[in-house]
């Protein structure tokens, strides 16, 4: 069987616009990808009969058979390592890590091979594979179920790292990730799995771009994954207090959309970066640095960060103290040297 990847058309099915959860959108993206390309295979722990612990692969084995969606032995390094071999031999594996902390046994495969094979072979071998990872907290999960490890992956050259925050992006970005010739770490904010939105299956995403989630003129809030709705909530409150907050959903952590972000911050002159992960040596820190470098002359105030603490993720009963909320974002916005400040620092 020879498989051509060049003519994958994302709208091969009848395009539809429906309201659905992010979980359903991801499920639909996987189903449509399997339907459209015989090279796509989905595998991981509990993805078959159970349909995944978050039901993202629900019904795929039933509909497409064991060859296209199957349970593996319980071994993350095995899952990612065999996906590398499959991708070298004409397949497009889409693998699931059950929780992002449980992807760590596969870290060596990801960093030493997934990220580097294309470069090592001077482009002779490309790895079209996707590693899906439910990520983040906010669900009352016990330890190892709420980590945000995107910084490890974003730090690793050769990996595309994306994190959708809406059902539409979940669908379009997963289709784009599967169609990508390069390996993609696909981070799914598990707190948002059950949030609903419109999904137009004919919309194609371009990985590497950010999205303006809310227009605003006074300050730009840059957020991703589960922090996007929190930033939007802060913007709403700020609006009621007379401040116009622009919210950008960064959504592509690597590569980063410098173009859109730089233009946005230059226009507002103020920026706050919001992320759930610990702030030290983080994606939020990188974004902050890039904005400083590119927008310094336009800034009215230092770029601020609102992130998780530099501690292990909190146990369920303390997680509300840990997770950045709208108040914390508003406090950061308040500190941005406003002209009407009585005591501008």
């Amino acid at each position: 069987m020879t498989i051509a990847h060049d003519d994958i058309r994302l709208d091969a099915g009848a395009p539809t616009t429906q309201t659905m959860t992010m979980a359903a959108a991801l499920n639909l993206a996987l189903a449509d990808a399997i339907r459209d390309d015989p090279a796509v295979v989905v595998f991981g722990e509990d993805v078959g009969a159970l349909g995944g612990v978050f039901r993202i692969t629900d019904g795929l084995t039933e509909r497409f058979g064991e060859e296209r969606c199957f349970d593996t032995p319980l071994a993350e390094s095995g899952i990612v390592g065999t996906a590398v071999g499959m991708a070298m031999n004409g397949m497009r594996p889409v693998v699931e890590m059950q929780f992002d902390a449980f992807a760590l046994p596969a870290f060596e495969q990801v960093v030493s091979h997934v990220a580097k094979l294309g470069n090592r072979t001077r482009g002779a071998v490309r790895l079209p594979m996707v590693i899906r990872m439910p990520s983040g907290g906010g669900i009352g999960g016990v330890e190892h179920h709420c980590d945000s490890s995107e910084a490890y992956y974003a730090h690793t050259p050769g990996l595309t790292v994306v994190a959708p925050s809406t059902p539409q992006d979940a669908y379009s970005m997963l289709r784009a990730a599967i169609a990508s010739p390069d390996p993609v770490i696909f981070i799914e904010p598990k707190k948002l799995y059950w949030t609903k939105g419109e999904v137009d299956t004919s919309q194609v995403a371009h990985l590497g771009t950010a999205r303006i989630a809310r227009e605003g003129t006074d300050v730009t809030v840059l957020a991703y994954a589960a922090m996007v709705p929190v930033a939007l909530e802060a913007a709403e409150i700020a609006a009621s207090e007379g401040r116009s907050v622009q919210v950008i959903d960064v959504r592509s952590l690597s590569p980063f959309d410098d173009q859109l972000v730089t233009a946005a911050v230059r226009a507002t002159g103020r920026a706050v970066v919001v992320a759930e992960a610990p702030g030290y040596v983080s994606v939020a820190g990188e974004i902050q640095a890039r904005v400083f470098e590119r927008c310094f002359e336009y800034l009215e105030a230092p770029v601020r960060r609102v992130t998780g603490f530099d501690t292990p993720f909190a146990p369920p009963k303390l997680e509300h103290f840990y997770l950045p909320d709208a108040d914390r974002i508003l406090d950061a916005i308040d500190s941005l040297h406003w002209d009407d400040d009585e005591e501008t620092r």
Binding site: V53, D71, A75, V142, F309, T311, D327
Partner: protein, 376 residues
Amino acid sequence: MSDRVLTPETLLPRDEPVRLIAPDGTAEADQHYPMPDLAHLRDAYRALVEGRRINDQASALVRQGRLAVYPSSHGQEACQVAASLVLGERDWLFPTYRDSVAVIGRGVNPADAMVLLAGDWHSGYDPTEHRVAPQATPLATQLLHAVGFAQAAKYRGEDTVVLALCGDGATSEGDFHEALNFAAVFAIPVVFFVQNNEFAISVPLSRQSAAPSLAHKAVGYGIPGQRVDGNDVAAVLSVLGDAVDRARAGEGPSLIEAHTYRMQAHTNADDDTRYRERAEVQAWIERDPLTRIRAYLTAHDALDTATEDRIAADAERIAADLRAALNADTDLDPEDLFRFVTTDRTPQLDEQWQMLRDEIARGAASDAVSPTGGSR
């Protein structure tokens, strides 16, 4: 190490799991593994009844929202009980999330064993006090810790034996392989005890291994493997006890596989009707570890109604204490988030705690003004 010759034949497990008591309670003599005496078995029975009660109480507390999650060992209590009873006071246990009953068997207060699952903190007991490592969630990782711990004991001239627990699914992880190999190469006094309960969440054993049994894996590392009926507490006590004795005598590690069954869903968050037939679950009720040992003890006049009533009443009291402890409102201190990250708290974390403390204070102040308002 003794100079016992290790041939594949001496390392291989039996074709059939070791069993000393049949499901109907009748004894089955075994040439190699002696039947534990009646007093010992009555202690085991007591622990089984208490373990079952704790499992079912914890599951009920999940339904009432008092525990975040509970991976129950209902049906696996013979393994849990034996794992704690075969260890001496100075020995160590390295358990998983499913082994709360074994942890409690080592003397940890049930409410302390539930701290992780209640969501208060990541572990609720001091491992050094009861010689129980924190319950591990990342699969198979604790097996390597167990090996290193036992290796240190060996260097330090202590006769500690370490019992390391894991499930059938965890045997597929690389860490399982590495742990067994290290233990074998360095002849470490550690016993690997796999509770094969047939499922890793939804994935059946057939998707984990094509080996004749999990215990057969031992021969590949050069260590003895044995299989035991995991619902026969007498057999588990005898087989595990033998492995612990050999480890203590300097004869190195072994791998014991208990054949048992996870009677309930993986956790309360799981729906096991999606991947297994009810009839399969029902069939295991007949092999319940409690009814089996109870029938045996009763037939041997080692358990009368008065004793049974006393055991049941004690189990009720343990359950009541657990309920009371988990129904009480715990006073959690957010500063704990920052206290233990490193031995000395960094200035960076001091600053972050200061920020959180200000937020909490402002929240309290604005709540006092308007009960519905946030901190703004």
